[in-house]
């Protein structure tokens, strides 16, 4: 097992380099560049200004030199400085966005698992029942409804009409003068709508997945034999069927690891949440190469780690694979 993990980790290095090379080429191929924002259609910027700015950011060097510089910095875990006028280190910019994105994603993912797994099991066991049909409509409504539209409706209801919840942002203006409990309550009030909405719109996938797994398992011979032994239905469903149906969820969990740090642009824009999605979007729009590369590299790394975790977790949970 250990050898397997080590081998996978060693393999991850060339894969990461490959991903970074492709990303690097792609973002440099996109039209425009970091200096476009300030100089395109700017009557005050002459050719000389442009040349000076390109030299400043090292954009006048051949592409392979630029990539070489980037990768040698990366090897020392240095993400470099952002091309944005504030020139702050990319690592710092990413670090300050992680807590809020992670919080929202962990909460909404937790919510999804908490709600979707019971829905999936219940609608599989009582397949075709009224509950099954209603829950299907419910989860697909969440899946299909435009997030921004629902978000605005909820904001109008809870923010403007009823005045119960704040509309956007992640803290009140007086947040920093609040007591600790006040801070927690304030943050919770701000996160309630985004988390509920992210949960609602994400229910469909997980619950349908759980339902079909469960249906698959229930048809197996060992369930029939459990029933034949005369075990109570509860034991059959929860001990024998559910545990087996949950196995593939491990894979989903592993594959969700990169999503933990990936924010949704539309979502964060609507709720004015300063998270990773907005950071990445701004980076792309302003062609902030070091920032884009930094976020893409982290995403690639997390994806590889997530895959590895999923495989290892699966092996630990399922003896057939461990011994196979």
């Amino acid at each position: 097992m250990l050898r397997y993990i080590v081998r996978r980790l060693v393999w991850a290095v060339p894969v990461l380099v490959g991903i970074s090379l492709i990303s690097f080429l792609m973002i440099h191929m996109a039209p425009g560049g970091p200096i476009s924002v300030g100089t395109d259609l700017n009557p005050k910027a002459t050719a000389e200004t442009r040349a000076r700015l390109e030299a400043y950011y090292g954009l006048d060097r051949p592409l392979y030199v630029q990539y070489g510089r980037w990768i040698s910095r990366m090897a020392r875990l240095d993400f470099g400085d952002s091309f944005s006028p504030d020139g702050r280190p990319v690592a710092e910019k990413i670090r300050e966005r992680i807590p809020i994105t992670l919080t929202i994603n962990v909460l909404s993912m937790g919510l999804i698992f908490l709600v979707a797994i019971p829905i999936g099991i219940y609608s599989a066991v009582y397949k075709g029942s009224l509950f099954d049909r209603i829950s299907t409509v419910f989860v697909f409504t969440g899946f299909s409804i435009p997030t921004f539209w629902l978000a605005l409706l909820l904001m109008i209801l809870f923010g403007v009409k009823l005045g119960w919840l704040p509309i956007s942002g992640i803290g009140s203006l007086e947040y920093h003068s609040l007591s600790l409990t006040g801070k927690i309550a304030d943050r919770a009030r701000h996160l309630l709508l985004p988390v509920l909405l992210a949960g609602f719109t994400g229910l469909a996938g997980m619950s349908r997945y759980m339902r079909s797994n469960m249906l698959e398992v229930i048809r197996q011979d060992y369930i029939a034999s459990a029933r034949a032994k005369g075990l109570p239905e509860r034991t059959v469903v929860f001990r024998h069927a559910m545990r087996n149906a949950l196995l593939p969820v491990i894979t989903i969990l592993g594959l969700s690891v990169p999503d933990l740090l990936g924010g949704s642009v539309i979502f964060e824009t609507i709720f004015a949440i300063p998270g990773m999605g907005q950071l990445f979007y701004q980076g792309v729009m302003s062609r902030d190469y070091p920032l884009i590369m930094g976020i893409l590299t982290i995403g690639a790394f997390l994806t590889l780690i997530g895959n590895l975790l999923a495989d290892v977790g699966y092996a630990l949970a399922d003896p057939r694979i461990r011994q196979g």
């Binding site: 100089t39 009557p43 005050k44 700015l53 403007v160 300063p274």
Partner: protein, 550 residues
Amino acid sequence: MRRPSRRFAALPALALFAVLAGCGGGKKEAPPDNAASVPDVPAYGDMIVEGSIGDISGFLSAVTSDSASHAAAGYVFNGLVRYDKDLKLEGALAESWTISPDGKKITFHLRRNVKWQDGAPFTSSDVMFTYRRMIDPNTPTAYGDAFKQVKRASAPDPFTFVAEYARPFAPALESWGMDILPKHLLEKYPDISKSPLNKKPVGTGPYRFVEWRAGEKVVFDANPDYFEGKPYIARVITRIIPDQATMFLELKSGGVDTMDLTPPQYARQTETAEFKKSFNRYKYTASAFTYLGFRLSHPFFRDKRVRQAIAYASDKKALIDGVLLGLGQEATGPYKPGTWAYNPNVRKYPHDPARAKALLAEAGWKEKDKDGVLRKDGRTFEFTVLTNAGNEARAKTAAILQQNLAEVGIRMRIRTVEWAAFINQFIDKRDFDAVILGWSISPDPDQYVIWHSSMTGPKELNFVGFANPEVDKLLEEGRSTFDTEKRKKAYFRIQEILAEEQPYVFLFVPDALPVVQSRFHGIRPALAGISYNFNKWYVPKALQKHRIEP
């Protein structure tokens, strides 16, 4: 809300956000002050929360280029000069200035007793330092060119600064509106963009920096030692809310005090009595215009009569009604109506399809194919207009123009392209028939880079390829004298020629539509908009909503 008029944020005449930038001779449409029972005397205190679509990218405006950052810098820093409520230059850190008779030397007399917010005195050495950093290759600035024109700069005494030029250059004066930087805090940083001041600024301005939380908000407190007196409003918070609809809901629920409305929000969503009780809406001419520009080397558009015909065919009234919901006016040239350089008496092109057809026939477009599209020498009159994706106003403009031109037998296809690709693949390569774009109008009328025949090289801005010897001469004249009367004459004539030649069909000038919570008093709309006197806005004691402990 953007505050271009407080400073030189109009520096980059960025076309992209033209509709949002704004200021102009305007009016308030609500009754003066709502609470008549409250004694209306200026009082210190309270705070204003303004909504901003974009986050800021730094506080040193020399190295930033977005309007949100320039607005933020405007609270903390001052230039030597600034534009007043009538968009005329006045002294800021400079008390006055003199220009030598030959126009080559500008001498600034600086204010005495101005202090940096850390207590150090402001002197001419700070101006000299700023000038040196503007021309330093280690400074990543897009605004260095105006300063490179300076042949010799000197600071003969702590309160005098002299800039000498090789030849008289009128826009040079405006360039000294650049934020002056504190030498004592910045001199040890070779690259000012990497200095702590870009994140925690210290300036001479009306507000002190308190806090910047990236993507969330920026906080400023009034500077009690400001050289023009402490501003009334004790705290300014700029909240970053990237979505217009969310910002509007925040406004209605009290989370934001001021923002810029979109035309639909102004015309349809804020007409209720309840809204008008809590908010004052303002409307004035924005410093921007939208146009249809031709590639003048295109075989169709080489002929002046064709361009004039298209101008007659364009229904500008329908455009203003359809795109701006009536909140704008016809553009007749590249200057802002009401400013000193604007010439109201130029050739106009009222909507007149018959006249358009006659002009086209005169130009040889007589036959029609089976779809009713004009033909000449075996070619049908069809072309593609390009505009940038994501700009709803321009997409609507294109759709209305398409209809207008179809009426006179011209088939116009519409293609929208992502901004960066639009600029790099089409505009820069001159690979277009016609474009719909906008310019923001800077207060100084020098438009040499847009209309002079020498400015047609790669990346240069006369991308339509306009070349007119008289305009060239007038542009050179206009920028090389400080005499406003002479300049006015030159720019008036340029507008006559542009109106006759129609290298662009000038379409419309939108209105800026800011809204401010009604507890804020002292707002006096002028040509420059409403924010030029922001430091004099106040909330009467009885109406104050927040208590600010300094």
